[in-house]
């Protein structure tokens, strides 16, 4: 694992490390506040529904945004979908903006703006007793757009400091930071939940805002800002396909964004590839669909786990939040371990296949988990290991495999387009799935939601089956070739 830092000297080393740490923490905070909504779903749902009265008048001033819990749950799912859609759209737009404007300003604007919107969404509406469906939707669209500004800037700044080919390691690290953010968010929310769900939003948004301020004052977007020039040749390495001996894990939410060539030395601009051409390339469609399925499952756990634990087992919301942490723990371990294993093997697809098959088993097991908290936590960690792992890896597998295609080799823009398509489809699939989850839960119950997840995971395996077959075959061939040589 090499950190190809874009400058020399002790001071530059320090600056680069501080930059990485600052970016890491800002992304953790972003995910912490993103998770807050799923941590307080039970409380918000209770706030929106009337108190249960059967024989006499309701005794509280009626907060009847929704007539019953079912409708409230559907709206919660709709909000998740809205957020993911606007996040996906924002990703496309933010990359463009980030190229044209100061990265530090965009990053800070995204962090502070998103924090403000979340404060208005969760805290201000409660303090003012302003419950309105359209207000919630509008705010959440805004939140999605603002949050989408963060990831491309993070990748771009990391690219400025650590070179484009250090991406694999960056993504490996960032997959851990998303899960770390989820864990932090769960802790924060569960600690202040007893005062009211509005305080969970207040705390996480204030902390995120503070992070944005620190970033504004303390971040260097590029070594050039302090006069360090690139001392290491950079772009000969980015000519190599991404499937190298580096970490291959993907970015937290697959929001992979290419670093536009504005800072490094110029190379001949490759032929841009049109959207339709990119879409029709072999492998793009299957990967998009597979990624959509897996991302759906992973995101559903992210958004619904505390709500499921609380409503299905009857545990208190704060307890459910703390339990949901185990899924992210499993995800971190899974991403790391499976990344290392696939590094060792030199091939990713077989590892993915095995993990996804075991994930289906883990889902079956988890859906039948007893009401014991310890057992539940263990099964949850296992599920997180088998689902979070491939989800963290599959995007880089896509980049690597597609990068090896002759049509795209060496073409950064084309690769970015293709990856954008795959990521975008994945995000849209995940977005649509959130509302489906709430609908299935309302009509059929949680067990059918798990069947749905199992079907999705199976679908994901099916879609990448050709790749698995190809890689497994070439792996056997390599092994045979090796034996013949010996």
């Amino acid at each position: 694992m090499f950190w190809r830092i874009y400058c020399k000297g002790e001071s530059c080393l320090l600056n680069s490390r501080l930059t990485a740490i600052a970016l890491f923490h800002s992304y953790v905070l972003l995910h912490a506040s993103r998770k807050t909504f799923s941590n307080v779903k039970v409380s918000i749902s209770a706030q929106w529904t009337p108190s249960v009265q059967n024989e006499s008048l309701p005794v509280w001033e009626e907060h009847r945004l929704f007539a019953d819990e079912e409708e409230a749950t559907l709206f919660l799912g709709a909000l998740d979908t809205i957020f993911l859609f606007s996040y996906a759209i924002g990703l496309y737009v933010s990359g463009v903006i980030g190229d044209r404007m100061n990265l530090r300003y965009v990053l800070c604007f995204g962090l502070c703006g998103s924090a403000t919107v979340e404060f208005v969404f969760g805290t201000l509406t409660e303090w003012l007793h302003l419950y309105n469906v359209y207000l919630y939707c509008g705010l959440w669209v805004l939140n999605g757009l603002l949050q989408s500004a963060v990831w491309p800037c993070v990748v771009a700044i990391m690219g400025n400091w650590f070179g484009k080919s250090g991406r694999g390691f960056v993504f490996g690290l960032w997959s851990a930071c998303a899960s770390a953010g989820n864990i932090l968010g769960a802790f924060l929310a569960s600690s202040v939940l007893k005062y009211g769900y509005e305080y969970a939003f207040l705390v996480t948004s204030v902390v995120q805002f503070a992070g944005g301020v620190v970033v504004f004052f303390g971040l260097l977007t590029s070594p050039k800002e302090v006069g360090f020039g690139p001392a290491v040749e950079s772009d000969s390495e980015s000519q190599r396909p991404l499937m190298s001996d580096e970490e291959e894990d993907e970015g937290c939410d697959g929001g992979y964004y290419s670093v536009e060539q504005s800072e490094g030395p110029q190379e001949e601009l490759p032929q841009p590839i049109s959207f339709l051409q990119a879409f029709l390339l072999p492998g793009v469609l299957p990967y998009s669909l597979a990624y959509a399925c897996l991302k759906l499952v992973n995101y559903s756990f992210f958004f619904w786990l505390p709500f499921y634990l609380s409503s299905n087992y009857g545990w208190k919301e704060a307890q459910a939040d703390r339990l949901s942490i185990w899924y992210d723990v499993g995800g971190i371990v899974g991403g790391t371990v499976q990344g290392l294993v696939s590094d060792f093997l030199g091939k990713r697809a077989p590892v993915l296949a095995v993990s996804l098959l075991l994930a289906m088993g883990a889902l079956v097991g988890y859906s039948h988990s007893p009401a014991d908290q310890v057992v539940n936590a263990a099964l949850l960690a296992l599920t997180g290991f088998f689902i979070g792992g491939p989800s963290n890896m599959i995007s880089s597998a896509i980049s690597a495999d597609l990068g090896r295609q002759d049509a795209l080799r060496g073409s950064q823009e084309a690769l970015a387009t293709v990856t954008g398509i795959v990521d975008g489809t994945g995000s849209i699939g995940a977005a649509g799935g959130q509302y489906l989850v709430s609908m299935i839960e309302s009509r059929l119950g949680w067990m059918y939601v798990f069947y749905f997840f199992i079907v999705m995971t199976g679908g994901s395996i099916l879609f990448i089956a050709p790749l698995i077959y190809r890689e497994t075959r070439s792996m056997w061939r390599d092994r045979q070739g090796l034996h013949q040589q010996l």
């Binding site: 501080l18 209770a46 108190s51 008048l57 007893k194 005062y195 009211g196 504004f216 303390g218």
Partner: protein, 231 residues
């Protein structure tokens, strides 16, 4: 005549005090007590109750001081034979113990009129009407002299076992009128459905965050951005 008011004292002070006293006495002059003409008579049900409780008569109402306070509240209301054809609001008399509505051509009266009348123990209604809250809310129901008498309000909280299920966690059932109950939050809990506990410690949470933010910003600025060269 105005029982309960102080005796007047000499000079200007007297005038001022009188003004204050008369005003305070008239504060108890509720609209409902003058719904119809006449005053509370001694030989009516309400009248007998009023004299036995040492209450003060005002129009059709009987007032009594709350325990050791200067505010008064209605304990009896007699609107019998008032030619009323509907009763919409008894809010002012929600503390009444005895209410007499007999002898009025009331067609029907909504149960919700009595919501909040938790002290109500006896009510007389015209014969065609049912006791508010139904027969299950009263200990005894009698028909006599052209009126229905409902006596002994039963607390809805004891009534049926499943009442406790209706009050959300952290709240207790309390009677709230015939056929009504309310859920009061137990100590320490407040808010909608009694879900919130305690007061959020603003200072303890935000002071460290603020201090940390300022210190980190300064630290990182010194280490990183101080040397920034602007082109």
């Amino acid at each position: 005549m105005k029982a309960g008011c102080l005796q007047p004292r000499p000079a200007v002070v007297v005038f001022v005090i009188n003004l204050i006293i008369h005003t305070s006495c008239h504060l108890a002059d509720l609209q409902i007590c003058h719904t119809c003409n006449g005053t509370l008579l001694n030989d009516t049900v309400v009248g007998r109750f009023c004299s036995s409780s040492d209450g003060r008569v005002e129009g059709r109402c009987c007032f009594q001081n709350l325990n050791s306070s200067t505010t008064v509240h209605v304990i009896g209301l007699d609107l019998s034979n008032c030619s009323l054809d509907q009763i919409d609001d008894l809010q002012d008399a929600s503390t009444a113990v005895v209410i007499d509505l007999s002898g009025n051509p009331i067609v029907n009266i909504s149960d919700f009129v009595f919501q909040g009348c938790s002290a109500l123990n006896e009510i007389l209604l015209p014969t065609n009407l049912l006791c508010p809250g139904g027969n299950a809310s009263w200990e005894s129901i009698a028909v006599s002299e052209g009126s229905v008498i409902c006596r002994g309000q039963k607390s809805m909280c004891n009534e049926t076992r499943h009442m406790t299920l209706f009050c959300p966690e952290n709240s207790c059932c309390a009677p709230n009128g015939p056929g009504f109950f309310s859920c009061r939050c137990i100590d320490g809990y407040h808010g909608y459905k009694c879900r919130r506990e305690g007061e959020f410690p603003f200072i303890q949470v935000f002071a460290p965050i603020g201090v940390g933010m300022v210190m980190l910003s300064i630290l990182l600025w010194v280490v990183q951005r101080r040397k920034v060269k602007t082109n």
